[in-house]
Symmetry: C2
Subunit: 418 residues, 2 copies
């Protein structure tokens, strides 16, 4: 018997038939004796529809009014889930962002959650009522509707779980857990029983879009136990708490599980990066700052950086990656700085992919990177750039070789299942 926060994404909430399935899953957790709060996304496609309305109304939209419009999608699904739970005989009610309230700052359209008041909702849950909370939304100190940015419902769920001191935050998605890699690429990918917060963060940031990065950071900070599982398993034979998913845990908890240390947890691919090469940059102090300061000022995330010695003395080529969506902006900013930086040409390439191997085990093992380089070289895959963190090695390759590289590495690190 505990207190559980459950979260369902847009695919799970798309239409009244699917909401009925969600309601059955929720009701089963309550029947198992838990106090239950549910955080819901808008129906799949609805937020896009609302965002398009805003763009049509005003391309330079006021984020405060944008939030009034787009927050309505989750309002609808929260009311509908409460109604559906009532139809199953459960007590249930919706709690909108301003009703709890979920306080946020006033950065409309990308607000950050502050305090969540839980007295009323905790009393309601203790009285056997299921609390249904629209994700993605909150209220500013000025009493206006705020939203957390796209994908914010995962963050809402983790924040509510932290505020309610919930025993677990179950994130139901259209996949049934976190895999060693994308099962659409590698049929032999295995579902992970456990993954640490840090691994999840690295996997999320390099394209394994199971959870929003921000929600994982928050869970790590607040110590919320997060489980990823599928809302498309609706098997009455499976007892509550035994639906298999992936549990996201701390390093300490993982060690306590006394498991065979896994060197590599997963392999992720990200095709949303683009490569920029500035040729014949003067090799003198201050040049690198002149390149990257304007990009940082424009909030463009630079990832991998390599400096090659050029053919001519006193000059180098500088290579780096930016999100593909920011490539044009980055190019414009750099052209404007041409005289200050003093480069010769800008060469760009959006047809690249970043392949990453991730695992807390690599902290204590040498040779992880060299295994990667050798496996790729053996298949003739050219590495264009490299970056590393404590628990991740990433390489940039030609986009066309993405799937091949993932398969090769999945085998090289011994991750292939049956």
């Amino acid at each position: 018997m505990g207190r559980i926060v459950m979260k369902f994404g847009g695919t799970s909430m798309a239409g009244t038939e699917r909401i009925r399935r969600v309601a059955r899953i929720v009701a089963r957790q309550q029947a198992a004796g838990h106090e239950v709060a549910v955080v819901v996304s808008a129906m799949a496609g609805e937020t896009d529809r609302l965002v398009n309305f805003c763009r049509e109304a005003n391309p330079l939209y006021d984020p405060a009014e944008y939030d009034v419009v787009v927050a309505s999608g989750e309002q609808v699904t929260s009311g509908l889930l409460a109604l559906t739970l009532q139809a199953l005989g459960c007590k249930a009610r919706s709690w909108l962002g301003w009703q709890l309230p979920i306080h946020t700052d006033d950065a409309y359209a990308k607000a950050r959650i502050g305090e969540i008041e839980t007295d009323a909702i905790a009393a309601s849950m203790a009285a056997g009522e299921i609390a249904v909370i629209p994700g993605f939304q909150g209220v500013s100190d000025a009493g206006r509707v705020t939203t957390l940015g796209r994908g914010g419902s995962d963050t809402s769920a983790v924040a509510v779980a932290a505020a309610l001191k919930a025993d677990r935050c179950d994130i139901y998605t259209d996949v049934d857990g976190v895999y060693t890699t994308d099962p659409r690429i590698v049929a032999k990918a295995k579902k992970l029983k456990h993954v640490t917060y840090e691994e999840m963060l690295e996997l999320a940031s390099v394209g394994s879009k199971v959870l929003q990065t921000r929600s994982v950071s928050l869970a790590m900070k607040e110590g919320v136990r997060v489980q990823v599982l599928s809302s498309f398993i609706d098997d009455d034979a499976t007892p509550a708490d035994e639906i298999p998913g992936t549990m996201i845990v701390s390093d300490e908890e993982l060690e306590g599980l006394d498991m065979e240390a896994q060197l590599i947890t997963g392999i992720a691919a990200d095709k949303n990066e683009a490569k920029v090469i500035l040729t014949r940059v003067p090799d003198k102090p201050g040049t690198v700052a002149a390149i990257f300061s304007p990009l940082a000022g424009a909030n463009i995330n630079v990832d991998m950086i390599i400096q090659n010695v050029g053919r001519d003395k006193g000059e180098t080529d500088v290579t780096f990656t930016v999100p593909a969506a920011d490539l044009l902006r980055a190019q414009t900013l750099l052209e404007a700085q041409r005289d200050v930086i003093g480069f010769n040409r800008i060469i760009t390439d959006a047809k690249v992919a970043k392949i990453s191997v991730v695992g807390v085990g690599m902290r204590s093992h040498a040779g992880v990177a060299s295994t990667m380089f050798k496996a790729l070289a053996d298949r003739g895959i050219n590495i264009q750039a490299i970056s590393t963190s404590e628990i991740k090695v990433s390489v940039l390759i030609d986009e066309d070789e993405t799937e091949l590289a993932v398969r090769v590495l999945h085998t090289a690190y011994g991750l292939d299942g049956e």
Copy 2:
């Protein structure tokens, strides 16, 4: 220079292109120097879509959660109109029902408006900001979303106009005013420049669906000057305040206008009534109460009542009308009372129409009813029942003769225009 509340219905708000037209009309009023608040409906079709979701989720829906779902339609259009006004260079912001707040009782799905707090919105309007208010919604004392029932946005607009002590409440619809009768039936119908609250009430209740009856009652009670006009006139050549519509005024104001007293203001037809005849009812005290008490208890509105002396001594036939939508329920209730009432047969007929002539002028003129009866008789139209009020005479006829009767009466009372 005054303070104006403008209201736009679902057809006017259906899509961003139409919202742009609405924004231009609103901006023009502000440019003319007025302080402006706008009350908006949901996009045409949206409330039906949301109501259907609720029905699918739970046929016996909890009205409090139903309100959470259906109130979202107006939330969306209020945000979109604010954004569109901003795109035209106006200052504008939305004020949701809970933000003003618009206090209502807790009769969810059919709430009644209580106090509306106007300090914040009046300050905002005085500072040149256009206030955009979603119609149809409010907030209960428990802090939950309420809605006013279908068509409630007219009532929201009148209530906001009363609270803001506005000089005028302009209701923009898809017709350009109130006509002497439905122009689709009589091509020579004339638009009325003025109509009194009471005439409007009678016209609204007998099928001229320009304004919601409840909003007219509220306007009469609060002395709000209401104007009906079309949102599909978007002629920049027409100065603000000169768009021709129909002004709804008090009897006193109408007299002050020094107009030629009009005997009859308009002719309305209503096909939503059904006729019930109970035959051979014992002609003794208490019988009539036995018939109508159960109907009143079930909230079924009985309109015309006639008692015919039957062929046999001590027995009469009782004829009356109920809304066609309530006919089956009424029949069931009466059958259950058969022994108490003691009737012989129930005969029902939904193929009837109620034709009404309305006008404050008939108060001081005799002969209005006899003109009606003679005109209908001359064309062989049979009258099945009659009811009258101080400013209205209604007759029940065969539904097939509706259009003929309206045309005949429109001519008989000299209402035909060019």
